[in-house]
């Protein structure tokens, strides 16, 4: 028994629904209470999926339970009749799992022509990603067992991209672009857009690419075991990793070719071949890091948290390619904790493997980094601490299902991630400039931010448009009022207000001079500096904070 305010992952049946929703001709049927159909709204609202999600709830309620009726056969018949899918996956949720129904025999009672797969992992043990990943493996074992002759030209499978995956659709496009440049065909993408017939074709590829450790890598390894098709399971995130990945893919194909008596003559293309114009570097990241104005990154502290794949890769990328300091790295995937520790150990001592957001929040509060790369939750935590934050992993928000091309994988991904880091850090860089050139104009900035909190109508619109504008303005004002009320109520006020000048604590006294010095510090870093000074004073037994002490802390901080 524990108290939960928020979870990083959904449950096992969410994972099953994501697999079904990725595919064509596959339907999931969840035996569950009616309310568990809520997951469908994630597909149509977050991801703006156009189809009715192929996830059917076979309703468990008290009345039928009391009468000893199970509606599963009836539901299977309805799905068969309405959609006639190639495959129906039967699953359960927390509450229905307690009833320990014999799904196999219930499915047989349905007496339908469609293939039925029972996949009902224990929802109290298996979370969303593990469940989806496990289902991919089961499907490969079940449908890709038959050996097929390899394609005549070199080809690869891509296993992993999935519905509601973090930027997965963009990642897929990035991989496809690179493979095309390398002269490699894509045999099957699974599960996104795949059918059961596609799974059966997996064994004809020369290699399998599975960039996400927690989603699809196991299926790729199973395929390797079954058919000797090499699995490339590294994630091409960052320029260095991408280049290594390109070579790894080519080596794997070569290995397959020589093992199967096929000819293989592909070479690593010139770097420029990967760029949009075929002339320049495919990623501006290396030059970006070298430029003088990014030197400041060397002193920047980053905190990284997310799923396994993104947290590992982004940690490595920030440390080795953007030259940042990693003050903490973590994942909520506790089952891969050991592997995670091994991989990020070279970059930080502060490793957090936990699915409790409060622990992550505590770690962020203790390290006070300059930038946080995390999930939706860390965005909120960072707002509380007034630290810039970018999302790099699920769980996320509708805003991460962007219309424009925003991949994380490959050379294109390196550009996007670097931009994201840069835009997130910009405020920090301004701070750096202010330190060098003084705080001229800062007051203006503060006033501008305040002014922005008021409405946005500045240009007089056309008369007809004006009425609509006013209407929209009214709605916006109402929403704003509601949001403010909510924020105040929930204690998030600190996140929406500019931090006040020195809320001087009772036991510590700041001299006038010290206070003045504090006021001179840009408002957006002021609370952090104040906190640092006060902590320092406390730990050194001072109760009076003098100007000298402020400078003493400043000196210490620069060491």
């Amino acid at each position: 028994m524990r108290m939960s305010f928020w979870e990083y992952q959904g449950t096992a049946h969410t994972g099953v629904a994501r697999v079904a929703s990725s595919m064509n001709g596959v339907h999931a049927v969840a035996y569950s209470p009616v309310g568990d159909c809520y997951i469908n709204s994630m597909f149509t609202m977050m991801e703006r999926e156009k189809r009715f999600p192929p996830v059917h709830t076979s309703v468990l309620d008290l009345k039928t339970m009391g009468m000893g009726i199970n509606r599963l056969p009836e539901s299977l018949r309805e799905v068969s009749h309405d959609h006639n899918p190639d495959l129906i996956v039967v699953t359960q949720t927390c509450s229905s799992s307690l009833l320990q129904e014999d799904y196999g025999s219930l499915a047989r009672q349905a007496n339908i022509p469609n293939e039925v797969l029972i996949y009902a992992p224990n929802p109290f043990r298996v979370e969303e990603d593990e469940s989806a990943n496990g289902l991919l493996t089961v499907m490969v074992e079940q449908f890709a067992a038959m050996k097929l002759p390899p394609t005549s030209k070199p080809s690869v499978n891509i296993i992993g991209p999935i519905s509601l995956g973090f930027h997965h659709k963009h990642d897929l496009l990035s991989l496809q672009r690179m493979l095309e440049t390398m002269g490699i065909a894509v045999n099957v993408v699974f599960p996104l857009g795949a059918t059961v017939a596609d799974i059966k074709k997996l064994p004809q590829a020369w290699a399998t690419i599975a960039p996400y450790r927690e989603m699809g890598a196991d299926a790729a390894i199973v395929l390797e075991k079954m058919h000797n098709i090499p699995a490339v399971t590294s994630a091409p995130i960052g320029v260095v990793a991408t280049r290594k990945w390109v070579r790894e893919v080519l080596e794997s194909l070569n290995k397959f070719a020589s093992g199967n008596g096929l000819t293989f003559d592909l070479k690593e293309p010139a770097i420029a071949a990967f760029s949009m114009d075929q002339k320049s570097a495919p990623s501006g990241l290396p030059w970006f890091t070298i430029t003088a104005d990014v030197q400041g990154y060397s002193s920047k502290k980053a905190f990284v948290f997310g799923d396994f794949t993104h947290a590992v890769a982004i940690t490595r990328m920030l440390a080795t390619e953007l030259d940042m300091q990693i003050v903490g790295a973590g994942t909520y995937n506790r089952k891969l904790a050991n592997e995670f520790r091994e991989l990020v150990k070279p970059y930080t001592d502060n490793i957090i493997c936990s699915s409790e957001f409060a622990e992550v929040r505590k770690a962020i509060g203790e390290t006070l980094p300059d930038i946080v790369m995390g999930t939706q939750m860390e965005r909120h935590t960072s707002a509380e601490f007034d630290i810039p934050c970018a999302t790099i992993s699920n769980p996320t928000h509708i805003e991460d299902f962007s219309l424009s091309y925003q991949p994380f994988l490959g050379y294109d991904g390196s550009n996007f991630i670097t931009d994201r880091v840069y835009h997130t850090c910009t405020l920090g860089l301004e701070k750096h400039m202010i330190e060098m050139f003084g705080d001229a104009g800062l007051g203006v900035e503060e006033a501008r931010l305040k002014a922005n909190e008021r409405g946005k109508i500045q240009v007089a619109p056309e008369p007809e448009a004006r009425e609509q504008e006013l209407e929209a303005y009214k709605i916006a004002e109402e929403l704003r009022a509601k949001a403010t009320q909510l924020a105040v109520e929930s204690g998030a006020a600190v996140a929406v207000k500019a931090p006040p000048v020195a809320a001087i604590t009772a036991e510590l006294v700041w001299t006038d001079e010290a206070q003045k010095a504090l006021k001179q510090i840009p408002f957006f870093v002021r609370p952090k500096v104040q906190k640092r000074v006060e902590e320092y004073a406390r730990s050194h037994g001072y109760s009076l904070i003098t100007l000298d002490l402020v400078y003493e802390v400043r000196e210490k901080a620069q060491q």
Binding site: M1, W6, C37, S41, C94, S95
Partner: protein
């Protein structure tokens, strides 16, 4: 339930069909999303599982900031075989950290199937924390949908309403509506010379009104049937049997019937007509349109009645649950329409594709797929969160539908249909 006989005219009602497989709606837990905001000194503690926690953060899009006033006491694998579920420490923490005046303890499906004795669990906690009442609320998805559990929450508040003495003849409005609406309804009643004691629920426990044998309980929406029956049974209070104050038509009937309880005959025809005149631009967008309500929150009956008054043609009115006695006046107003209780969603999708209504009022997850098929939609849940009550709420109400319909008309003139891929449903 005490009902003045003259308020029950014998006129024909809509027939209600009942389907009960393939019905989809939010479970009872989701009432938390709105009620915790309404009752500012409360804490909603859900005795649930990971599924329930995931529902709360996803379906409601509720983000947790520093001090949320709801949370899930999560039943984990080890608890399944434990002799007893003990949440004392969790409650202790909530009391210390949030200092609520009241804790609602919501059950969910898993403890229900485990046969956790929920009532005695709450009783035990009540004894341990004697200054913070812990109230058990039925909210599991095995039996309860969103608005039905709201009824359960409200029902549990009776014990905090002081007893009004005989002769204290005032109105208590029943149903959680937002403050814009409460202020307005109270003002409207007082203008008519009808004394108001207060609202259940109120923003805090201390503000709950006194209820006694001469109180007139006036239901504001269709999902307080249980609580109103209880209140009337235990305190002998009278119950207003009328339409609900939704739309100018319903609001007029509501206040005229309410006045009758005070021996007054009032005629609000002119007031109603004036509101309709003000709404004309919006109503004209609705008039003649064919509307299908799939049904998931119980507001459907009065909404359909309002839309019908606007001149819309209602193809089907789905709704989770009909209480023939409590909803009698609304059913009368819907006579001749197809009303379906616990509708089968899959059958509805087939019908909607065939009948191509101008507007489908439906849940969060069906809306976009319908839009993708070229059918305009309105989120049904949005209606719950909109201040639609009374004469002044009518404009917001009409606007919900008018905007959805107008938007489509406007988007249609832009020649961009080519950007929309074909329907992918297989």
């Amino acid at each position: 339930m005490t009902i003045a006989p003259d308020t029950l005219p014998e006129i024909p009602e809509a027939e209600v069909l009942r389907e009960d497989n393939g019905y989809h709606a939010f479970c009872g837990l989701t009432c938390t999303g709105w009620l915790y905001q309404k009752m500012k000194d409360s804490f909603f503690l859900i005795l649930g599982t990971h599924t329930c926690a995931h529902l709360m953060q996803n379906a409601l899009g509720v983000m947790i900031f520093a001090k949320p006033r709801f949370g899930v006491a999560m039943v984990e694998e080890g608890d399944l075989s434990a002799p007893q579920i003990d949440i004392t420490d969790i409650v202790k923490n909530i009391v210390e950290e949030h200092n609520p005046s009241i804790i609602f303890l919501l059950n969910s499906c898993t403890p229900e199937i485990m046969k956790v004795d929920f009532e005695s669990m709450a009783r035990r906690l009540n004894q341990q924390f004697n200054n913070v009442p812990v109230l058990p609320v039925r909210a599991d998805g095995l039996e309860y949908t969103m608005t039905q559990s709201e009824d359960c929450v409200i029902e549990s508040l009776l014990q905090f309403c002081p007893v009004a003495p005989a002769g204290d003849k005032r109105i208590v409005f029943m149903g959680a509506v937002n403050d814009v609406n409460t202020t307005d309804l109270k003002r409207e009643a007082e203008k008519l010379g009808l004394p108001v004691a207060g609202f259940v629920p109120a923003n805090t426990i201390g503000e709950l009104p006194a209820i006694g044998p001469d109180t007139i309980l006036a239901p504001l929406h269709p999902y307080v049937a249980k609580s109103i029956t209880q209140f009337s049974r235990l305190r002998g209070a009278k119950v207003l049997q009328s339409q609900f104050p939704i739309g100018p038509d319903g609001t007029r009937v509501f206040f005229e019937d309410l006045a009758r309880h005070f021996g007054k005959e009032i005629n609000l025809a002119e007031r109603e007509a004036e509101i309709w005149r003000n709404l004309e631009s919006k109503v004209s967008a609705i008039r003649g349109k064919r509307i299908f309500i799939t049904g998931d929150n119980m507001l459907e009956l009065p909404i359909a009645r309002f839309l019908r008054k606007c001149g819309a043609e209602l193809i089907e009115v789905g709704t989770p649950y009909v209480n023939r006695k409590f909803h009698k006046r609304e059913l009368q107003a819907l006579n001749g329409l197809r009303v379906v209780e616990m509708p089968n969603m899959h059958r509805q999708i087939r019908d909607i594709r065939e009948l191509k209504p101008d507007l489908v009022v439906t849940n969060f997850w069906e809306a976009n797929p319908f839009e993708a098929e070229g059918i305009a939609t309105k989120w049904s849940t949005e209606i719950i969160f909109t201040p639609i009550y009374g004469f002044t709420g009518a404009s917001d109400l009409a606007n919900l539908f008018a905007r959805a319909l107008n938007r489509h008309r406007k988007l249609d003139v832009l020649d961009w249909k080519e950007f929309l891929p074909n329907n992918q449903e297989n």
